[in-house]
Amino acid sequence: MSDAVLAQALGICSALLLLSAVLLVWRRAQVTALPLLALQGLALAGLVAVIAISEGSLELLGVALLVLLFKSIVIPLALARAGRGEYGGAPLINTATSLIAVAALTALAYAISAPLAVLGTGPAIQAIPVGIALVLYGFLLLVTGRHAIAQLIGFLVIDNGTATVAFLSSGGVPIIVELGVFLDVLLVILILYVLTGRIRDEYGYADLDDLTELHD
């Protein structure tokens, strides 16, 4: 495949990542959130695959498959089971404010990515701000999400963002680290999954508003 096509593919994947993230912030219901998360996983897997192809790395291709499997299939499905259709009350800030925040964070992501320009001029480097924006959105989701699942999604978006930056900036960290990170993230998701279940058992729902017993 030619560079132009690859660049095109890269652009599409980055755009999908960003779009899915913005929609996640915008549409706060589990019905839409989990498909969006799956879409984001898919876009990330595509991104990795594109880079793998452009670098001709089989390792990365494997990573792409792993990403596809877990981030766009296993985890969204598991969350759907854990969430049982609930998504808690409205987020802590209303949609309009969220969107303004998204706009601001996107601008910030581009502003702070300026020093990253030294890494090169290719399309991959151009797309790095998307990854950083994803991290920021993820934080926004975490800060405003009321439900356990909402926070899980926020965490996943942050992770997707970090991964995006990793792949775009350097084609991924060394494989052993990559695997370790992947395993860690999976385990964290698993733990949060279990804890969500326990919270539900304990409180009858998985809203985080009542988790304020420990305070000063």
Partner: protein, 663 residues
């Protein structure tokens, strides 16, 4: 020799700690007490050697590259070690008979050993870290000792907290001050710190930190608030050690600062020290004069005396910067003599107070009385101590105050306007202090030992056991001996600080050629004795002819009833004074009148209650503490349990760092 002495102190401390830990309770006092007294004696001997010019170093390595810890007492350190050692030895002997209940416990004896040894080693420290180490060790041990009777009285705990807090304030101030000096000098050894400082910001800040830090330990107003709380709550031998020895180390520190680390400097340095001293002296004795808790009274009197010491140091600094070094030396000598004098009489007084406490279970003067006949030796010793504290002639207190006044009146000169204004005021303040001290100790002695007992405890008091009496007698003897032969003290003082123009004369009198004054109390005593002889002869002649006749009741203009409650109490004794200084003492008074049920005009009973709190505590500390409290209460809202808030903190930090690193 010095090294051996220092090691002996450490070794004896270890021995005392072990003895206190392993010896069964019955013999514990007799085992640990002498060992601790040994620490004191070793300290006194080492101090004497150092005072005599011997030198020696003990090095102790530490894990961090700030060592080694150096112990090498200078002459000045030796002087303080000597004073502390003697006080310590006396207090330890006293403790053998005194301890009972919790103060006889293992931990109490162990803490006492550590306390005494660390005080002595503070005076030997020759580098910043070891100074701070022993300083803090002394603070820890003394806090433990203050807490001794924690399960007996509810007031102990707050006292210990105040003490620990203020001690930590002191420690931190010193840490900052020494930190600045060490940074400037590039070394933590005292020999390297001993540089003449210019008028730089660092020097100024270091000076203020160090002086305030030492002042806090010395119980100087307004950092004194711990002192009137902690001293009364500690067992009396500990009070004696704290008051007579520990606070002196604060004075030692200030002297170190002005004679060694930061020599010279702005005029306001001297004025600051002098001002602190002046306020402490007057405020301390004012509080003491209206106090009715005997140990609280003694504690405030410590603030007063430390104030006088600081006042002397401040004048010395001012005079030196003015060029009158001869008089400055006299002022410094006055300070050291005050140290000695205060150590002697305050030991006597606190040990006496302890003896009273042990015999009667009371330390409220309003419930004492008539102890003179019941506890004759305690009465005599306390009386001598009180004379010393009141700075009356023939005691060491008088000598010290006399030297101070000589320095002050010769200090002012017409060419220096500041001195010309400051010195007269200082003399006035010192005089007021002396007058109030007189009143205070007449009250303390008169109410406690004279007249009739005001409570059952006082009624049934018995004289204390032998070791206590020995200790009190020794301390009282020091008050008189140093008062009659101050020449020895003068020489020690001159050696300690390298002062010129201080010497002895006559029968060990004191000579101050720099101000053209001398005093030989021994001759004064001889004169007084000679003049008293004829009076006594007349008295004896008539006494043989008409002996005293016991009557049933005192006369009291026919108004004396049998009830001892009709007597004047300490509170009533100080009442005129409390009224006169109403503005600065701000006592709370309640008068509750209960009328007779039959007629409003008839009064059934009147209740009068007067509470004296420390003005600085209520006006300065409590509002400040309240402010901090409100702030921390507000701060608690940060940690309100909502995970969204916590995430927001992280998020904000993330954004801030992002912005910072990309700027």
């Amino acid at each position: 020799m010095i090294a051996a002495g220092l090691l002996a102190q450490a070794g004896l401390m270890a021995a005392a700690v072990v003895l206190a830990a392993v010896v069964p309770a019955r013999y514990r006092a007799r085992a640990a007490g002498p060992a601790i007294a040994g620490i004191g004696v070793a300290g006194a001997v080492t101090g004497l050697l150092a005072l005599g010019g011997s030198q020696g170093v003990v090095e102790m390595p530490v894990a961090l590259p700030i060592g080694p810890l150096l112990l090498s007492p200078t002459a000045l350190g030796g002087f303080f070690m000597l004073v502390i050692g003697i006080v310590g030895a006396i207090a330890a002997v006293y403790a053998i008979g005194y301890v009972h209940g919790p103060s006889a416990s293992r931990s109490s004896w162990m803490a006492l050993a550590v306390f005494l040894a660390s005080m002595q080693l503070v005076a030997a420290a020759a580098d910043v870290v070891s100074f701070l180490l022993f300083w803090e060790l002394m603070a820890v041990a003394s806090t433990a000792l203050v807490l001794t009777e924690h399960a007996q009285r509810a007031t102990v705990r707050p006292a210990a907290i105040w003490y620990a807090g203020m001690t930590q304030v002191s420690f931190f101030l010193l840490l900052a001050g020494f930190g600045i000096l060490a940074a400037q000098a590039g070394s933590t050894q005292f020999t390297a710190l001993a540089v003449t400082a210019g008028d730089s910001t660092e020097a100024n800040v270091a000076f203020v930190c160090l002086v305030l830090g030492f002042a806090a330990k010395a119980g100087v107003v307004p950092l004194h608030v711990w002192l009137p709380r902690a001293h009364p709550e500690a067992p009396s031998h500990v009070s004696a050690l704290m008051s007579a020895a520990m606070v002196k180390l604060g004075v030692y520190g200030v002297i170190l600062v002005v004679t060694r680390f930061l020599v010279g400097g702005a005029t306001w340095w001297g004025l600051l020290i002098l001002g602190l001293g002046l306020v402490s002296a007057v405020y301390g004795i004012l509080q003491a004069s209206v106090a009715s808790d005997l140990k609280r009274l003694l504690a405030y009197s410590t603030t007063e005396n430390v104030g006088l010491m600081l006042l002397a140091i401040g004048s010395a600094v001012l005079l030196r910067s003015n060029g009158t070094t001869g008089v400055a030396d006299v002022a410094l000598a006055a300070c050291l003599l005050l140290v000695m004098a205060h150590a002697a009489f305050k030991t006597t007084l606190f040990l006496g107070a302890g003896s009273i406490l042990r015999a009667t279970g009371e330390r409220d003067l309003d419930r004492l009385g008539g102890l003179g006949s019941r506890m004759p030796l305690t009465a005599a010793a306390f009386g001598i101590g009180a004379l010393g504290a009141a700075a009356l002639p023939l005691t060491v207190g008088f000598v010290a105050e006399w030297v101070l006044l000589q320095a002050l009146i010769h200090g002012a000169s017409a060419s220096d306007r500041i001195l010309a204004i400051v010195m007269p005021l200082t003399v006035g303040a010192v005089a007021l202090t002396a007058g109030l001290a007189l009143m205070t100790f007449v009250k303390a002695y008169g109410i406690a030992f004279l007249a009739r007992p005001r409570s059952q405890g006082a009624e049934q008091a018995r004289e204390s056991p032998l070791t206590m009496r020995m200790a009190m007698a020794a301390a009282a003897m020091l008050v008189i001996a140093l008062g009659l032969a101050p020449g020895l003290a003068a020489r020690a003082v001159a050696d300690a600080a390298g002062l010129v123009g201080i010497g002895s004369t006559g029968l060990l009198g004191i000579d101050l050629p720099a101000v053209g004054a001398l005093l030989d109390p021994a001759w004064l005593a001889i004169l007084a004795a000679a003049l008293a002889v004829p009076v006594l002869m007349v008295s004896l002649r008539y006494a043989r002819r008409r002996p005293r006749r016991e009557v049933d009741l005192a006369w009291g203009c026919g108004g004396v009833r049998v009830s001892p409650r009709m007597q004047y109490t300490a509170t009533s004794y100080a009442e005129p004074l409390a009224r006169i200084f109403d503005d600065s003492l701000r006592p709370e008074r309640d008068v509750i009148v209960t009328h007779s049920s039959e007629a409003r005009y008839l009064v059934e009973r009147i209740q009068y209650r007067q509470r004296l709190s420390d003005v600085f505590e209520t006006r300065l500390y409590l509002p400040a503490i309240g402010l901090v409290d409100r702030m921390t209460t507000a701060g608690r809202r940060l940690q309100n349990g909502k995970i969204h808030f916590y995430l927001a903190y992280s998020f904000i930090a993330f954004l801030v760092v992002l912005v910072v690193v990309t700027l």
